[in-house]
């Protein structure tokens, strides 16, 4: 500084000396003279886009003080009638394209633009407003974007690039269409934004606001952790302190004594946990078993009862006895026979519940005194975008979970440890935001995928629409048909929520098939079966009037319960029989869609778009080869499928059991568990009870094809 050349100038009549290269704005500021500005901040390179800091330097035009360097002998006037008029016009023009009050002004009354507008008396702009408001973007979990409030000052762009070096935000388009954009015009949530919060802190208006301001959320339990303490933890290395400051209370530290339950399976929640110290046990307390309707002691006079039976005792058609692991919302899978595992410091669990609000998939109990961080979705989102944290989690996954994850898929159960070791370093762990396309139908097939977290929707296009082929949850796999077939994707796979997948490249996939012929054979068989099922669906679509099928959601029905209303005396014997068959809880309602004289009663119809399968935290509901819904033994009775079914065709049934629910060595005790059930067509009997019990010959079970192509076209007997 001592060697730096000094320059003297006059600002508002005051003689000022500053180092050469200083801007007029800084020179004035250093000497206590305030010049209004919107686009300029001390920690960012000046760009002079708002022109509010104009000053009179005696030249033909006013100069922007933020970029005008000082000169020896320069005479600057910062206040005059003309300058005020220019500034006033600029503010009025900006106000014409700014909602008043904006979100920031509403919540904290510190919108800089509106502050100036008030100061200059131009809150009501004379200029016409934009006819159509610019959009809002609510996709980020931490930051709310309101493009209408953006004045294109570029402060966020410089904050993101110069200050944080993230380079996510930039300008797009020109003139009236100009706006800020994230990556290549992605939504903020779908972009590579790490939610550091720097842009939001820099924004002078309500264009970028903290969601804490928009929707306040904090945890009201545990010990709130100071930002400095959080930043000192390795897990938060690289996370923006600004963000943590703004989201104070969204992450808390909790201590649990040995044996204390952290949460139970089936509970709804909104947080994830990260273990700092100690170990926890994670297990499924619900007994493994499915609901089966059977006669209590045999014989035709006995009532039918619902019983909970494990698959070893009663195997249903399509039951997969080879599945030996249960996928849960944690970095480990649980063995079917002994569903308990241990989580250690550095493990994260409850991600799916936190990100997508699914029920808890397992019960977690402190195995010893432990300390965990409990965090809300916005914090977890930032952590997941943090490279250090992700690398740590991915490493743990590769080391501990990849093996059981692969083995949890029955087809891969024969993979050798050596080959899994090879895969450990070669697989890619990819993440997709809700709605993001993993690959499209017609793309080149270059990888095989295993779902690690979340739900993937598989769809196929056909003339006139899109058909949902499946929803895949953790443990599901996709992409094999394209690899085994012609090298082209036959369906589109989309992330339904926050999805994480294991991507195995085509080369490794081919290697695996060569080394393990039994896997090759099983995959080809499964692939062929999937293709047949899809073919079956398309045949149904093509053989009947598509509008009826699609609009009524009946296309995938295996068997419709059709009531001929000309015969039905509304005696409800069918409903009574159903209830009697299933422990007093009916699985059908004598109400529903009506076609001419036929009523299609409400009972499971194996929908085209099986929404019941979305949200099951343990992947216990799936389709069999025959497309019929099957609920696996490890259903935890959380009711997600009951809520998911738009037709009310899935019920929860209570079963009293003797069990040791917490694997703690305590004696067996009476307990009530819940299991989901849906119509199984009374498959242990030649005829469903509802049809068997109808005294008026009004109820029949029929395939939708037959119904639409034959029955519905028949005239009434006495009209023919």
């Amino acid at each position: 500084m001592a060697n730096q050349e000094l320059v003297s100038l006059t600002i508002d009549g005051r003689e000022i000396t500053v180092p050469a290269g200083t801007t007029v704005f800084d020179a004035a500021r250093l000497n206590g003279i305030s010049i209004p500005t919107l686009c300029h901040q001390q920690n960012e390179t000046p760009v002079a886009v708002c022109r509010l800091c104009v000053v009179d330097t005696g030249m033909r035009a006013f100069a922007a003080a933020c970029i005008r360097p000082v000169e020896a002998g320069l005479k600057v006037t910062t206040q005059s009638e003309k300058i005020e008029a220019a500034r006033s016009t600029i503010i009025e023009l900006l106000m014409a394209d700014h909602p008043t009050p904006c979100v920031r002004q509403q919540h904290s009354a510190d919108c800089e633009l509106e502050g100036f507008a008030k100061q200059f008396g131009v809150l009501d702009s004379r200029y016409p407003k934009r006819e159509k408001a610019r959009p809002q973007d609510d996709s980020s979990l931490s930051i709310f974007v309101d493009h209408s409030a953006c004045i294109l000052c570029d402060r966020c762009i410089r904050a993101c690039g110069e200050v944080r070096h993230n380079d996510v935000i930039a300008r797009q388009n020109k003139g009236y269409e100009a706006s800020i954009a994230f990556d290549v015009n992605e939504s903020m949530g779908g972009s590579s934004c790490v939610s550091c919060g720097e842009c939001m802190v820099s924004c002078p208006t309500g264009a970028l606001t903290n969601k804490h301001v928009v929707v306040g959320q904090h945890l009201d339990r545990g010990v709130s952790v100071e930002v400095q303490e959080l930043l000192a933890l390795p897990v938060f290395k690289g996370v923006s302190g600004t963000f943590l400051e703004l989201n104070r209370g969204a992450v808390v530290k909790r201590s649990f004594k040995k044996g204390e339950i952290i949460f139970r399976e089936g509970e709804f929640g909104s947080t994830a946990y990260y273990i700092l110290e100690g170990k926890v046990d994670i297990f499924i307390a619900s007994p493994r078993g499915h609901v089966n309707t059977e006669q209590e002691h045999g014989g035709w006079m006995n009532r039918l009862k619902n019983k909970l039976v494990p698959r070893a005792q009663h195997q249903r058609e399509g039951e997969n006895l080879r599945q030996s692991y249960i996928s849960i919302d944690a970095p480990v899978d649980l063995a079917y026979d002994n569903p308990i595992a241990e989580l250690v410091p550095g493990d994260l669990f409850g991600e799916m519940t936190c990100m997508s609000f699914y029920p808890r998939s397992a019960t977690v109990r402190a195995a010893e005194d432990c300390v965990v961080l409990e965090m809300l979705r916005n914090v977890l989102d930032v952590l997941q975008k943090n490279k250090n944290f992700r690398a740590q989690l991915d490493q743990k996954y590769r080391e501990r979970a990849l093996s059981t994850h692969l083995r949890s898929v029955p087809i891969f159960s024969s993979l050798t440890p050596a080959f899994i070791d090879r895969l450990r370093t070669r697989v890619h762990l990819d993440r997709f935001a809700p709605g993001e396309i993993i690959f499209r139908q017609g793309d080149a097939a270059d990888a095989f995928y295993l779902v690690r977290l979340g739900f993937v929707k598989v769809t196929e296009e056909y003339p006139g629409g899109e058909l949902v082929l499946a929803y895949l949850s953790k443990g599901g796999y996709f992409g094999e048909i394209g690899l085994l077939g012609g090298g082209v994707r036959t369906a589109t796979c989309t992330a339904l929520d926050h999805v994480e997948v294991v991507r195995i490249g085509a080369e490794d996939f081919t290697q695996m098939l060569q080394e393990f012929p039994e896997i090759d054979a099983s995959l080809r068989k499964a692939s062929s079966q999937r293709q047949q099922e899809n073919q079956h669906r398309f045949q149904q679509v093509n053989s009947v009037p598509i509008d009826q099928f699609l609009t009524q959601g009946l296309m995938e029905a295996q068997s419709l319960l059709v009531l001929d209303l000309d015969r039905c005396t509304r005696c409800d014997q069918c409903v009574k029989a159903c209830a009697d068959s299933h422990g007093g809880v009916t699985r059908l309602i004598r109400d529903g869609l009506q076609f001419d004289r036929f009523l299609i009663a409400t009972s499971c119809r194996q929908c085209r778009d099986p929404l019941c399968m979305v949200g099951c935290p343990v992947g216990a509901i799936r389709r069999k080869g025959s497309l019929e819904v099957i609920i696996e033994d490890w259903c935890v009775g959380c009711g997600a499928c009951v809520k998911g079914c738009p037709y009310g065709n899935i019920n929860l049934q209570e079963f009293p059991v003797m069990a040791n629910p917490d694997f703690s060595g305590t004696p067996m005790k009476a307990n009530v568990v819940h299991k989901a059930t849906s119509c199984n067509l009374c498959h242990d009997f030649p005829e469903p009870s509802c049809v068997y019990a109808c005294p008026h010959d009004a109820a029949i079970r029929v395939s939708p094809n037959k119904f639409f192509s034959e029955m519905l076209l028949q005239e009434r007997p006495d009209e023919s």
Binding site: M301, R303, R570, Q573, A577, S581, S689, Y692, P695
Partner: protein, 297 residues
């Protein structure tokens, strides 16, 4: 149960059984010289068969009570009940040799007639009413849910009228004082009067109709009258309110459907209130009759 061509086998079998019974009766009567016919071998045969049939018919109730018992499809039971019920007529007549007898026999005879008649009536109703209900009640709901649906309709109607009033009030047409009974216009009478009339008709006719199940005395119960009421209302109120009146009229139509469904449902099942108790009584009586006849006569 609807009787159609699938019943042909049952009809033929029943006709053949009636023919057989008739042949037996003709043969027996030709050999019979005097005294009560019921005590003869043929009379006893007809009586035993009749008693067995009555027991079988009464078992249908039990069959319905336990719909999941695998003891034959319910509709097979029903068909048997229907056709073998007809067979009961000649069996009883042949057993009694077309005489009424006295005491228990007489009562049993008339009870049998009543049971068979009520059964035939029920079969006829079951043949006709389900189709009528399907055709005439487009908004059919589950019978037990009718009260709930009706309450929902009333709520919707209240909201519609409330909406009209608040909209009018917002536009400066302060229409009604809500306290006390009835409504009093407080704005310009010329503007407010039609609204007051709308409210009066709603409170006096439409609301009670929607509130009460049936309400047969209400003019809105008949579609034609209802059309008249709404036609008059449309003339009365400004065109902006016509859409609300359309909705209100549809709600009344739906309520009429519910009433119709209720009425038809009762008709479809009310005969059972006669048929079933009489059947039990008949069973008891014929058992007593059989015991007395075999033990003391």
């Amino acid at each position: 149960m609807r009787i159609d061509k699938t019943h042909r086998g049952w009809a033929i079998a029943t006709a053949l059984l009636i023919l057989l019974a008739t042949l037996i009766y003709v043969f027996a009567i030709s050999r019979h010289v005097s005294g009560a016919f019921g005590g003869t071998w043929a009379g006893l045969l007809f009586g035993t068969a009749g008693l067995a049939l009555i027991i079988f018919h009464n078992l249908l109730s039990l069959r319905k009570k336990f719909p999941t018992w695998r003891i034959g499809r319910s509709q097979t039971w029903m068909r048997a009940h229907l056709w073998l019920g007809i067979l009961l007529i000649p069996l009883v007549l042949y057993h009694a040799s077309f005489t009424l007898g006295g005491g228990i026999s007489k009562v049993a005879f008339w009870l049998t007639a009543a049971v068979i008649f009520s059964g035939i009536l029920g079969a006829a109703l079951q043949h006709v009413l389900p189709r009528l209900m399907t055709q005439r009640v487009p908004f059919e709901t589950i019978y037990d849910q009718i009260d709930r649906v009706q309450a929902q309709l009333l709520k919707e109607a209240d909201e519609l009228i409330g909406g009209v009033e608040s909209e009018a009030a917002k536009n400066g047409l302060l229409l009604f004082k809500n306290e006390g009974s009835g409504a009093t216009a407080v704005a310009d009478p010329e503007v407010a009067a039609p609204f007051a009339e709308l409210r009066n008709i709603y409170q006096g006719r439409i609301r009670p109709f929607l509130q009460k199940r049936g309400d047969y005395g209400n003019p809105l119960y008949q579609r034609r009258n209802a059309k008249g009421v709404f036609f008059r209302l449309r003339k009365l109120v400004p065109a902006e309110v016509h859409e609300v009146l359309d909705d209100l009229e549809n709600i009344c139509e739906e309520k009429r459907d519910l009433d119709r469904q209720s009425r038809m449902h009762r008709a479809l099942h009310a005969w059972l209130l006669v048929h079933v108790p009489l059947s039990y009584a008949l069973l008891a009586l014929v058992v007593i009759h059989a015991v007395i006849a075999l033990r003391y006569m």
